[in-house]
Symmetry: C2
DNA sequence: TATATTACTTACTGGTCAGTAACCAAATTA
DNA sequence: TAATTTGGTTACTGACCAGTAAGTAATATA
């Protein structure tokens, strides 16, 4: 068993580096064409190798998808575990998190995590993927609860609003284009301002 | 050429009724397993018929997907064209629309429209589907602009906020369950209240 | 009562694609 | 310099699956 980011037994740094290139090419094609419409031959072709070469780095197409998701989810979780500090309001921490989240889901791995649903994975991988997602949701719901307590967030249902915030920001992954008017940080800030302050006059 | 909802040449009402049953069964499976993982055999099985029977109602799997999307998009567009009236603010019209939209995307056809991306369609169908989606976006952006003018909506970028609102509400389609705590109308109203009034204390 | 239409069926085909077996050349190591 | 490891290659297989050809039984129609 290799850890998600560590180097597998007996293989060195150059192996890991190449593996990441392979995964990145895969993620890009999954995002552009959908998981099922991106073939292993397609992925290999963009790397100028032949299909069997890919099996040197992953033992199945599903494993590639799972590991891509694990990397993105792992990074988000790490961020989330360290973002809370007494020095700022929970609302500000939440803002910081969703800016980072948006930056992540506008890159290949993060985007793949959002676009390609865990339903495509096998039973075991699906369970682990869903568990990670739930953990992240719980962290955010907690942060919202803290925000209500410290007076930086209006009273609301933390679980539902956590869902809503991910719904809001994840949507960006579906339409974001690198050559668009706004970069991910700007989009996230705009979303945060508008929905944070409220859309409606009252 | 049959119109999306009308009865095709020479076929009666019972044909159309059965066709809708077939499409509904297809939509349900597309939503549960994803378009590529739901086979024509699977769809046929849930209807207790064999695969070729399906081709009596649609000439390809792609056509089923396209028509499901057309029905859902057509209904939304119809609603949107009739929702604006001088008797209420644009903000209230927008609220009404997104409640209806949420109810739609929590049913099989609407959900299918959100979950299954137009990238899976052939070139011509994809173009038509994307055009419908853009039209709907423009209508909503217009309504937001009217809301800014009539003073019911805070100044913002209507195009971006239209995107954001669809991002927000479409997310519901990914996690909604019929046996959950809240029904679609309640979820939509909660989302509207929280994001309409603003999440943050200030 | 002959004819046509409706709503299917059984049996099959052809293409696509994930994954494998076996081999190889260049670099590294003993 | 022999042996091993690394990072591939060519050639193949087997399963799956959309779509088709041809037939049929029941119902409606003329």
């Amino acid at each position: 068993m290799s850890s998600v980011l560590g180097e597998p037994k007996g293989k060195g740094a150059s192996y890991s580096k190449r593996k990441l290139e392979v995964f990145k090419a895969a993620a890009k094609l999954f995002n552009e064409r959908g998981f099922n419409n991106a073939t292993m031959d397609d992925i290999a072709a963009t790397l100028n190798v032949t299909k069997p070469a890919l099996y040197y780095y992953a033992k199945s197409k599903d494993e590639i998808l799972f590991e891509i998701g694990s990397i993105a989810l792992g990074e988000a979780l790490l961020l989330l575990e360290n973002i809370f500090t007494e020095e700022r309001t929970a609302a500000d921490s939440l803002h910081l998190f969703f800016v980072s989240w948006t930056e992540s889901i506008c890159q290949e791995f993060g985007r793949c995590m959002v676009l390609v649903k865990p339903e495509l994975l096998g039973p075991e991988s699906r369970k682990r993927s869903k568990f990670s997602r739930r953990t992240i949701h719980h962290h955010v719901a907690n942060l919202i609860q803290i925000g209500i307590s410290d007076g930086s967030i209006r009273p609301c249902k933390p679980d539902l609003i956590s869902l809503a915030l991910f719904d809001l920001f994840n949507g960006i992954a579906y339409w974001y284009q690198e050559d668009g008017l706004l970069n991910p940080t700007e989009i996230a800030n705009q979303y945060w301002c508008n929905f944070g302050q409220g859309l409606l006059e009252n």
